[in-house]
Symmetry: C2
Subunit: 152 residues, 2 copies
C-alpha cells in the first residue's frame, strides 16, 4: 500500500510522458521526445569537446573525461525510441532508419565504439590522441546524420 | 588542420543547440532545452520502475539495475541548465529556484542520494528493498516539483 501511494505520486511527478502498455512502451510521440532528448544531451556534452578539438575552447582534460563518461551512457539511450510506431510522428528521422535497419544499427555501433575509444583516450592524458578521438566521435555523428537524418 | 575540419563537421552535426561563449555556456533557450531533456530521460528510466513498485508492471531486477545505473548519471545533467540567464525563458521553473538556491540544491542532493541508494539496493536482489528504494526516489522527484515546478 505504501508503494502504491508512492508510485502513484511518482507517475504523477513524471508527467504524461510515460504510458504503460505491453513491454512498457511509451506512446510514439513520447518516444520521439525521448530519443530527441538523448540527442540533445549528446550534443550538450560533445559540443564543448568539438570546440576543444577545433581550438576554439581551451583544452580541459578533466572536462573531456567527465563528458566522455556521460556520453558513454547517453549513447545507449536514443535507439529504442526509433520504434516503427514512430514513423508518422513529425521529426527529421528518414525512412531509411526502418528500410535499412542494419545500416542504422551499424552506425549506432560505430558511434558507441568511437565513444568507448574516447573514454580510453581521455585516460591517457595525451592531448593529440584525445583530440583525434573527439574528431572520430564527431565523424560518426555526421555519418549517421548524413544517411538517416533529414537535411535542414 | 585535420581536427579543424572534423570539428567543423562535428559542430554542424550537432546543430545550433551549442553556442560558444565564455565558459562554453549555451544560449538560455538551449539550456532550458537541455535541462528538460535530462528530465525527459529521467522520466523515461524511472517511469517503468515506478510501475514495478506499484505492481502495474512485472518486477524485473535486471531492468531496475540498468535504469538505476542510467539515472545515476542522468541525475547530474539538469542542474547547470537552471542558470539565472534562463529566468525569462518560458518553462515551468518557478522563481524559487533562484530565490531559494540552497533549497533547490538540497533537493538535487536528496534526489542524487536516493538514486545512489537505489543503485545499491538494485544489487541486493531484495525485491522489497528495491521497491522501497524506487519509492524513495519518486518521493524526491515529487518534493522538488512541489516546491520548484509550476503546477499544470
Amino acid at each position: 500500500m505504501r508503494f502504491k501511494l508512492l508510485s502513484a505520486g511518482l507517475i504523477l511527478a513524471l508527467g504524461a510522458g510515460f504510458t504503460l502498455t505491453a513491454h512498457s512502451q511509451a506512446r510514439p510521440e513520447a518516444m520521439v521526445k525521448q530519443r530527441q532528448a538523448a540527442m540533445t544531451l549528446q550534443a550538450k556534452y560533445l559540443g564543448p569537446l568539438g570546440a576543444m578539438a577545433q581550438g576554439k575552447m581551451a583544452f580541459n582534460a578533466d572536462l573531456v573525461a567527465r563528458n566522455a563518461g556521460y556520453l558513454n551512457v547517453l549513447d545507449r539511450m536514443a535507439w529504442d525510441g526509433f520504434d516503427a510506431s514512430t514513423k508518422d510522428v513529425k521529426s527529421r528521422a528518414l525512412p531509411a532508419i526502418w528500410t535499412d535497419a542494419a545500416g542504422f544499427k551499424a552506425e549506432q555501433e560505430k558511434f558507441q565504439n568511437a565513444v568507448s575509444d574516447l573514454v580510453a583516450a581521455s585516460k591517457t592524458g595525451d592531448e593529440g590522441k584525445i583530440k583525434a578521438a573527439i574528431g572520430a566521435v564527431g565523424k560518426t555523428c555526421g555519418s549517421c546524420h548524413d544517411n538517416f537524418r533529414e537535411k535542414q
